[in-house]
């Protein structure tokens, strides 16, 4: 038998998602998830299925480790040496891992670090939702290829994540980093009891949407960071933010601009700057939120934001005007 396979979506998005009504009420909807391959014949019947373990923590851990290992490829170092560390060098076809969201944000952070690193003091970095600390690996390759210096000679890294599994992996994968400049903390992402300006920089790639108290967490990050918070954050243009559930069965909050304005007030100086906006309809991870229809999806998107009081930024960005 020769199989001719063509991709399909077994559950296309309708205009109004099946869980949107439930999210506006106190309804309790019990959900079950399954990771599987599914094959459907011409009559629309399920012809075959192959199930995989359904545990997002395991899948996520492996995916982050894979990314970290690819960052450590000596060919990537050579690529940056040859092409420089810039937006164009992230688009190289031989390194598809670079043409994704998080390297773009790592590049912003790297450029900011390069701008201020002439001062003699070490820079303190908070990685909010650090997973296996793969961001420090890409920063390390960027730094080493440009200056010849290891990142841990410039930055004191502090990773924070809720998952002990991810933190154990992070610890193992960075066992060669000096303990004095590489620390990890297990905590929920809105449980941030840091002193004001405890860090020079903070990086948060989509994590702020997944914590228990998103607006409170954002305020804490802004207060705890003296120079710049670099983040990917999902925002709706609706008047109010709303909660949804993502495909990993985690609660996910879509911020409103009013939420961002409220958070910005927690810091006496500084403003949000937009580096990039990706509408959800153009996202590389389509249909991330469960049960949301196409109409609501069109109101959402991911902003690459930098909150800072720095007067000059080493990249193009427009100030986000908040009412």
């Amino acid at each position: 038998v020769r199989f001719v396979l063509s991709p399909f979506d077994p559950c296309p998005v309708s205009t109004t998602g099946p869980l949107e009504h439930a999210s506006r009420t106190n309804a309790v909807v019990a959900l079950e998830t399954a990771y599987k391959y599914q094959f459907v014949d011409e009559a629309g019947h399920v012809a075959h299925e192959y199930a995989l373990p359904t545990n997002p923590d395991i899948q996520n851990c492996g995916a982050y480790v894979d990314k970290l290992i690819k960052y450590r490829d000596p060919k990537l170092f050579e690529h940056f040496k040859r092409k420089g560390v810039n937006a164009a060098s992230l688009k190289a076809t031989e390194f598809p891992i670079l043409d994704t969201r998080s390297p773009e944000l790592d590049l912003l952070l790297f450029q900011l670090i390069q701008t201020v690193r002439h001062s003699s003091t070490r820079l303190r970095l908070l990685d909010h939702g650090c997973s296996v600390a793969e961001h420090i690996d890409l920063l390390d390759v960027m730094m080493t290829s440009v200056t010849g210096e290891r990142i841990f000679n410039v930055v004191d890294y502090h990773g924070l994540d809720f998952s002990m599994q991810l933190l154990l992996a992070a610890r193992f994968l960075h066992s060669d980093y000096p303990k004095s400049s590489f620390s990890l903390t297990q905590a929920e992402g809105s449980d941030l009891n840091f002193a004001d300006d405890a860090f020079d920089f903070c990086l948060s790639v989509g994590v702020i949407n997944q914590v228990a108290e998103p607006v409170k967490a954002l305020k804490s990050l802004l207060r705890a960071t003296s120079r710049a918070v670099v983040m990917a954050i999902w925002v709706t243009d609706k008047d109010r933010g709303f909660w949804a559930v993502n495909h990993a069965r985690r609660s996910y909050y879509f911020f409103s601009f009013a939420d961002l304005a409220e958070a910005a007030k927690s810091k006496t100086n500084g403003a949000f700057h937009v580096v990039r906006f990706i509408p959800e309809t153009q996202s590389s991870q389509q249909k991330m939120a469960i049960g949301i229809g196409s109409a609501l999806t069109q109101s959402m998107g991911c902003y690459h934001l930098v909150f800072t009081s720095m007067s000059q930024l080493p990249f193009e960005a427009g100030k986000l005007v908040l009412e």
Binding site: F3, V4, P18, D41, A47, Q59, I69, G291
Partner: protein, 273 residues
């Protein structure tokens, strides 16, 4: 003359979300390849590493990872390796063909640390695509490109042909199983996905790969010609849904030989299962 039937199928892989009790999905999120089997493999290596370092059983820490390891048949192969190492102290190394990111290497470390057994040396043989991943986890072990297999010396080593894991990949390995079979000499272990007869040798995996399976009887007779002391256990293929439905049954063949008459207790255990 036999002609191939052409069967069109629509295909997807990802997260299906159901309202509890319903079989109609509420939602589907496609998953990228890096969130599928390769992610499970990498997590399994790290899980074994963490368990070895903490002195914990993987079953107690993560039932999902333990189940995934069972699906890969790693423990069955590992038990045979330990049995051979125990029986012959002149053997100090393991050569694994189709090592991938090194799950078997990590499993051996895990059981040897937990049981305070001497550590064996490990040589991994696979496509260069796995070298970086393997080396990240097993810095001290040797990684040999599959194109250099013929130059490897099997002296004082158990050769392990882990064909069962190679058929699971989204791209078929460049090293054909018949070339790998030609390489191995007793002491050796084979863990192979086989067709029970010639009707079932060509399969399509859920990854869309055409997989050419060896016939059970052919593998046995080939290995018995290498050494008449090979012993085998054919196990029903409880992972047969890895392949799209087509003619011919498949099975999992576990075989071992130390080159002399030997009673493998761990092979008997698989037979009794």
């Amino acid at each position: 003359m036999m002609t191939k039937r052409s069967t069109p199928l629509s295909w997807c892989v990802g997260t299906f979300v159901y309202q509890r009790g319903s079989s109609t999905p509420l939602h589907f999120t496609p998953l990228k390849p890096f969130l599928l089997e390769s992610a499970l493999d990498l997590s399994l290596v790290l899980g074994l590493k963490a368990c070895a370092d903490a002195g914990l059983s993987l079953n107690d820490v993560s039932i999902d990872l333990a189940n995934w390891m069972s699906r890969l048949r790693i423990e069955d192969v590992g038990r045979l390796i330990r049995e051979i190492l125990e029986a012959d102290d002149s053997i100090s190394s393991v050569i694994e063909i189709y090592s991938g990111c090194g799950i078997l290497a990590e499993y051996l470390r895990y059981v040897q640390v937990l049981h305070k057994e001497p550590r064996s040396n490990f040589v991994a043989v696979d496509s260069p695509d796995f070298e970086l991943h393997f080396s990240t986890f097993h810095g001290a072990a040797v990684f040999c490109h599959d194109t250099d297999l013929a130059s490897l010396n099997q002296r004082a080593a158990i050769a392990v042909l882990n064909h069962n894991t190679s058929v699971r990949r989204s791209q078929m390995p460049s090293l054909h199983w018949s070339d790998a079979l030609n390489f191995i000499k007793s002491p050796a272990i084979v863990s192979m996905r086989v067709a029970l007869d010639s009707a079932g040798t060509s399969k399509t995996s859920v990854h869309g790969c055409t997989v050419s399976l060896p016939v059970d009887a052919d593998v046995r007779s080939f290995l018995m010609a290498e050494n008449p002391n090979w012993q085998f256990c054919l196990y029903p293929d409880d992972d047969s849904s890895l392949f799209l439905p087509s003619d011919g049954e498949t099975g999992w063949l576990l075989g071992a030989s130390v080159g002399r008459p030997f009673s493998f207790q761990s092979l008997d255990a698989v037979r009794r299962r």
